[in-house]
Symmetry: C2
Subunit: 316 residues, 2 copies
């Protein structure tokens, strides 16, 4: 029995990553109804809006779902209390210290998963009593670890360091990617980009189209002097790159970034001036599908790829 399925009480160990401006209750409930775990991405919400999304999600699915809370976000504490009051089954925390709320959430019967990008973070999660870890590699979209360790290298290192189950994230959009992650020792996968381009995603259609049109080399990790973030290349990215090559300071980069760039790009569809957070794996994604169909496709691709690989043994 797969430990992630047991822990989260789901049929398939596929987690839809919580993504700002993309993953509200529509996407989360669609993924949960298909047998995965949908996450409401709270990072672009205020407390009232999160409350509303949780309420709608409960109406839309009888299956477990979760909320992703970036711990450095100003509303984080309010969000934690909303999740407790609303008896949200699972909370994924990221971007902050897992020691802060894990005990409180667990006392209230909530499963806690924390996102890390290095072995040190994974060990800290385990000490803190986190139930499972998301280990996210360099290829992932959005904010990203300083070490730049890729999923292929990160998963075996984290797996070796901890005994709690590891969910692989970054670079996974297909059943083959899921099989590769499992070969490395992961027991679940967290998938963002592919669900960002799903029908139920609240991303603007212009952004979804850019995701399915993206090719290799169309994303780049940038703004490393602030907090590194992987973006689709567009006019805004080109301005960032120009400044960075010239050795721009934190102040200059912050001034260029300004406020509301992600909303402008991902939610309002300004694909020139907006910040478009997406993973490298956008280069593999070629169509906008319903989220439930994506879950089913990934499982059937996984099983097919498994059948193929069983043939490839080597005699010592």
């Amino acid at each position: 029995m797969n430990r992630i399925c047991s822990l989260l009480n789901i049929q398939y160990p596929i987690i839809q990553g919580g993504m700002i401006w993309c993953s509200g209750w529509k996407l989360a409930s669609a993924v949960s109804n298909a047998g995965g775990l949908g996450l409401i991405g709270s990072g672009s919400m205020n407390p009232d809006l999160l409350h509303e999304h949780i309420t709608q999600c409960k109406k839309a699915t009888s299956h477990p779902f979760g909320v992703n809370i970036p711990l450095l976000f100003s509303h984080a504490e309010a969000f934690i209390h909303i999740c407790i009051e609303e008896k949200v089954p699972v909370v994924f925390t990221s971007a902050g210290n897992p020691a802060k709320y894990t005990a409180l959430l667990k006392q209230n019967g909530i499963k806690v998963v924390h996102v890390v990008a290095n072995v040190r973070g994974a060990l800290k999660c385990q000490e803190t009593g986190v139930d499972a870890i998301v280990a996210e590699g360099f290829e992932a979209g959005g904010h990203n670890g300083k070490e730049e360790t890729t999923t292929l290298v990160l998963i075996p290192m984290v797996k070796k360091a901890v005994t709690i189950p590891v969910i692989a994230a970054g670079g996974i959009a297909t059943g083959r990617g899921m099989l590769a992650a499992f070969a490395l020792g992961a027991e679940g996968v967290q998938i963002g980009s592919r669900f960002a381009a799903s029908e139920e995603s609240s991303a603007h259609i212009a952004f979804k189209q850019m995701i399915v049109n993206a090719k290799d080399g169309d994303t780049q990790l940038c703004l490393k002097k602030l907090v590194g973030v992987r973006l689709l290349k567009n006019k805004f990215y080109n301005e960032v790159e120009k400044l960075e090559l010239a050795g721009a300071s934190v102040e200059e980069l912050s001034a260029l970034l300004g406020r509301g760039r992600a909303q402008k790009g991902m939610f309002e569809g300004d694909t020139e001036e907006g910040e478009l957070e997406i993973g490298q794996v956008s280069g593999i994604i070629s169509e906008i599908l319903p989220a439930g169909k994506i879950v089913k496709n990934i499982i059937s691709e996984y099983n097919e790829a498994l059948e193929e690989i069983i043939q490839q043994k080597f005699k010592l």
Copy 2:
């Protein structure tokens, strides 16, 4: 039957990457004798020295071996002719245009494999008549593609684009890594870092010790304004980083790099002032072993991981 094994006439589809200052005839012949394909890395040699290494390699193994030739290297043309005269069974070309020598090599009965880091390069290889492709991800040591596409993302993209067999490189040092690469559609793996730290590697023992001591986050892709190269972090790297954060020009970076830095670090063991090219996967490597033992370990780990993963099917 595995197409890489058939093509290269080897028992296991494990290629030891050609590495400057690490892979001479001792390492190449040890890998070939163990059933993989050993490559002499010509990038740090002159024509006389390459000739000597080929001669010694032939004495040390009756199995196929190859030579890696960086096509932008000043001796490339001379190396091509040496390989033809010496009837070297396989040539891996990299860092340059595969159209230049592929036909000539193939007319002389030599199998040609070319290293790429993007889909465009893979398509060009196929048009040119190259027999197989190495698709190398961002996590690889040494010189590296501009797109920064990781192995997990690159392999499925390249696999989809071409029909010739794909060898995965970057981030692979174990049987689990090999299994992950095969799950993605690769038919072979090229492994550098793990063999750089083998007994038969000609790297300095101080460099080998740094490889086995490396942890996650200890390498970084840098010098992107010149040709991006992944290095172990040391005093020299810190100086590079400082200049780059300040927006240093090509001229300033070239002046800091100077000449002979890689020889100084990797071959002479100056771990402070030298350039230490190695992959992220050094964080997984924990001991210096004979190369033949490494090949056997990888195959037995691969088979074990395959047995494990066969248990993990999901019902649709």
